[in-house]
């Protein structure tokens, strides 16, 4: 074979008709442009990438990779057809891991980690792939933040932030971009004035300038050209490279500077500046206008611009003198959700914030009620159950609450308490209803006398659930185990929790039941051609994100918390305790947190956009509504459920 070096045809002949082009065909570029994450590359980058691609064909049933054997020399981008990913477990059973179709890729993880294939990959249809050589791909990952974000993303990575911002951009930004500083203000707007020092200055001289000007960073310019910034020193450098190392402050400042200076253009949106900071981990960036550095921007500068409207609402609720005023304020809550999503809050922050506002609302309602009805005859505690108990409420969902009061000393006190608290709870739930918290269908509310009881009666109920109830009954009682104090005497809730922990220590039957229930749940696996595929191959047109996506996380955390005597009720805090108690490993913990928050986020945004379209919010997400990135993130989230099930299997072995 003759040796044919690339591009031997040479540069294009300059002519009107473009007579020669030794470049990849336009159709190749078109394909890449349609494919995540390459669609964001500039045209010349796309042409360059296309030139390095090869196209291969794999008939149906071809094995592309073998787990732990195949060296990954190329990234495979699927142009036509599809593949399935699977592993073979120790028993020789094939475990399906994924289906990937047009536009998806194979091999990225192996290349980035420099490992062999982490899955078996086989074509399920006649499949054409673009092959991007390993080096070319790595080069892209290293030099292009969008590509890097997409591929470097593991759930413990900053990329999740990008994903969240994508969610915001796609679903919500249209209407609200005007009041969003992240998308409006540019780096130039936030730039701090420039202070710089010569490269030949000593560390002490530099520190003196920083101290005199009260600045946290200082640019260093080249002696021969005061306009050329060659590096930067920050407070951190002074601390870690000078003081901690006992360095002589007469040394040149260049010894401790970070060089070269990383910069952004002055027209860069603050949003993109933040992204750059997150991906590089560098929090001081030079701001360039033309080729001149005009100042510095820090992550702190951007962060301090956050709005404070939830706080304002919070204070207003506390000041209301009548119920009507509270009803009006309650309508503002979903607006708050939108605002804080736009400001970049994660679902976890949102629900904590909403939880605070709801509690404030509740306490104001009960305060006003006491003004009407007089003080309670006994100490009591208003309990929040279910998602409110777990602080996972976003939009107003059904009321799940209960009331526990001190044990009456005698019959007359008992009667008095019964009549007072029943009336009190009925009034309270009515006002909550007017504030937009709908009544619970099966009346799991304090207004139901069954759930408005003295402490001893509650202990009996829990004792029954823990020790006497059948499986079905136990599962139905799950939301009670997520109770927390909402208003009143917290000690009552603490006593009840102590009691439950003690009971469960002697009998872990209910924890086991919750755990086994979670293990037996079917897990969504992947998206393929706009359907959701489950492990057993079943297909669904839509995803029930509450029951299929989030519930396993909630159940997992509840089951193990009961087993390990954890008092917390928030799923995220329960997970944290499980980490501290070494029930789950750090890696799993981090991916659980991210997977859970991500799905919460997706759900919040889904519901918020429904509310804004005048549709009652639900939990059904259709794959065609999702972007490639969202699908990919969800898929990752699903894969975490499997790992959690493995933990549960070890914690609750079949006896």
């Amino acid at each position: 074979m003759v040796d044919s070096p690339r591009n031997r045809i040479g540069p294009p002949v300059p002519s009107a008709a473009g007579s020669v082009h030794a470049v990849a065909p336009d159709v190749a570029v078109t394909f890449l442009r349609q494919t995540m994450p390459f669609k964001d590359l500039a045209d010349d980058q796309l042409y360059d990438l296309a030139r390095h691609c090869r196209i291969d064909f794999f008939p149906k049933g071809t094995r592309l990779f073998t787990f732990n054997e195949s060296e990954v020399t190329h990234l495979y981008l699927i142009q036509r057809g599809g593949v399935r990913a699977f592993i073979t477990d120790e028993k020789g059973q094939t475990v399906l891991k994924d289906y990937r179709g047009v536009g998806a890729n194979v091999g990225a993880l192996g290349i980035i980690r420099g490992t062999k294939a982490n899955l078996n990959i086989e074509t399920v249809e006649d499949t054409f792939c673009y092959l991007i050589p390993r080096e070319v791909f790595l080069d892209l990952v290293q030099n292009n933040s969008v590509v890097a974000h997409y591929f470097l993303k593991s759930f413990s990575d900053n990329i999740v932030a990008t994903a969240y911002s994508e969610l915001r951009k796609n679903k919500l930004a249209r209407r609200s971009a005007d009041d969003l500083y992240l998308f409006n203000a540019t780096a130039g707007d936030m730039t701090k004035p420039l202070f710089s020092v010569s490269a030949s200055a000593s560390i002490r001289e530099a520190a003196a300038i920083m101290s005199r000007q009260a600045i946290g960073s200082l640019l260093v310019y080249a002696d021969e050209d005061p306009g050329a910034m060659i590096g930067i020193i920050t407070d951190t450098d002074l601390r870690s490279k000078v003081i901690a190392e006992g360095r002589d402050t007469r040394e040149a400042v260049t010894a401790i500077m970070s060089s070269p200076l990383k910069t952004v253009g002055s027209q860069t949106l603050c949003f993109d500046v933040l992204l750059k900071m997150m991906t590089t981990g560098i929090h001081h960036l030079g701001v360039e206008r033309g080729s001149r550095v005009i100042g510095v921007i820090t992550s702190h500068d951007i962060m301090v611009q956050q709005g404070n409207s939830p706080y304002y609402l919070f204070k207003e609720i506390g000041g209301q003198k009548d119920f009507q005023g509270l009803y009006t304020l309650a309508e503002k809550v979903s607006g708050i959700v939108r605002n804080i999503i736009n400001e970049g809050a994660k679902a976890g922050n949102i629900s904590r914030m909403i939880g605070l506002i709801n509690e404030k609302m509740l306490s104001r309602i009960l305060d006003l009620l006491h003004q009407e009805m007089g003080p309670a005859p006994l100490r009591y505690c208003w309990l929040l159950l279910g998602s409110e108990g777990r602080r996972e409420q976003t939009f107003k969902t059904d009321q799940d609450n209960a009331l526990v009061y001190e044990d009456p000393k005698d019959d007359s006190q008992r009667l008095l308490a019964e009549s007072y608290f029943n009336a009190f709870a009925r009034q309270a739930t009515k006002h909550l209803l007017h504030c937009g918290y709908p009544a619970c269908e099966d009346e799991t509310m304090a207004s139901n006398p069954k759930w408005c009881q003295p402490l001893t009666a509650w202990k009996e109920k829990f004792s029954y659930w823990i020790n006497g109830a059948g499986q079905e009954e136990q599962l139905k009682a799950a939301i009670f185990f997520d109770f927390r104090h909402g208003y009143g005497t917290e000690q009552l809730a603490v006593d009840l929790r102590d009691f439950i922990i003690k009971q469960c220590r002697f009998n872990d039957q209910i924890a086991r039941n919750f755990g086994r229930d979670c293990i037996n749940r079917k897990v969504p696996l992947s998206f393929f051609k706009n359907v959701i595929i489950e492990q057993n191959g079943e297909h669904h047109e839509r995803l029930d994100i509450k029951n299929r996506g989030l519930k396993p996380f909630v159940d997992f955390a509840r089951a193990l918390s009961l087993k390990h005597g954890i008092r917390k009720t928030d799923t995220l805090r329960r997970m944290k305790r499980l980490l501290v108690k070494k029930v789950v490993a750090k890696e799993l913990y981090e991916s659980m947190v991210d997977a859970f928050e991500l799905q919460m986020q997706l759900r919040v945004i889904h519901q918020l956009s429904q509310i804004e379209d005048g549709i009652p919010p639900d939990d059904f997400i259709y794959p065609e509504e999702l972007t490639d990135l969202e699908k990919r993130m969800l898929k990752d989230a699903f894969s975490v459920i499997e790992k959690m099930q493995d933990v549960l299997k070890k914690q609750f072995p079949v006896v």
């Binding site: 031997r8 002949v13 009107a16 007579s19 065909p25 159709v27 296309a50 030139r51 006649d126």
Partner: protein, 239 residues
Amino acid sequence: MIRLLRKIGWIKQPHDVISRNRAFFKNFDKSRPLADYSFVVFDTELTGLKSKKDEIIAIGGVRIRNLQIDLGDTFHCYVRPGKLDHTKATLVHKITPEQLKMVPPLEEVLPRFLSFVGTDLLVGHFIGLDMGFVNSATRKLYNGTLANSCLDTLRMAQIYKRVILGRYHENSTSAKDSYNLQSLSIEFNLPFFDAHDALEDALQTAYLFLFLAKKMQKYGVVSLSDLFSAGRGINWATL
């Protein structure tokens, strides 16, 4: 007549390019697996179908190595025809005569194309037509024709469908249309695009070639000679 031409050709020594090409292919080893060979899949745009009267106005080619299309190793050139009065060309190929005037003539493009091809095997859809035009050009310019082994994806598709899939009943006249590049691409579910120049046509053909070569591998067509003999039942009239 043919003998006479040959004689003249023998008297006029063929150009070095042709002699070297012929020497290379004289004892060409066809027994190796297909993946061992390099192929150039090419397509020409013509002013018409008559090799005596009509001319090449564009050549596009992509290289296949290790049975993979190399998008970084492509060829695409427009050619200034000798006669510029082919008004048809402006309609068919969306190239104006004005634009064609700016591009190099075949005498300049052909050497470049031949050096791109080198000793790779040539692949085309209904390749006989394209080779006819290319060889008439090499005859003029180099006093001889190319000896590169040629593969016709149309023939391969016929073999695949009739011999391998067992669809003997489809005779070539009634199913004639179903053998054009577009219909085959759709039938085999290949990545399909509206090719708008010779390069993209060549790429479309390359997809077809890859598909057929790898599909036929599964049925025991492994080496180059397997591929040639697989077509023996059908009349291989490539050149």
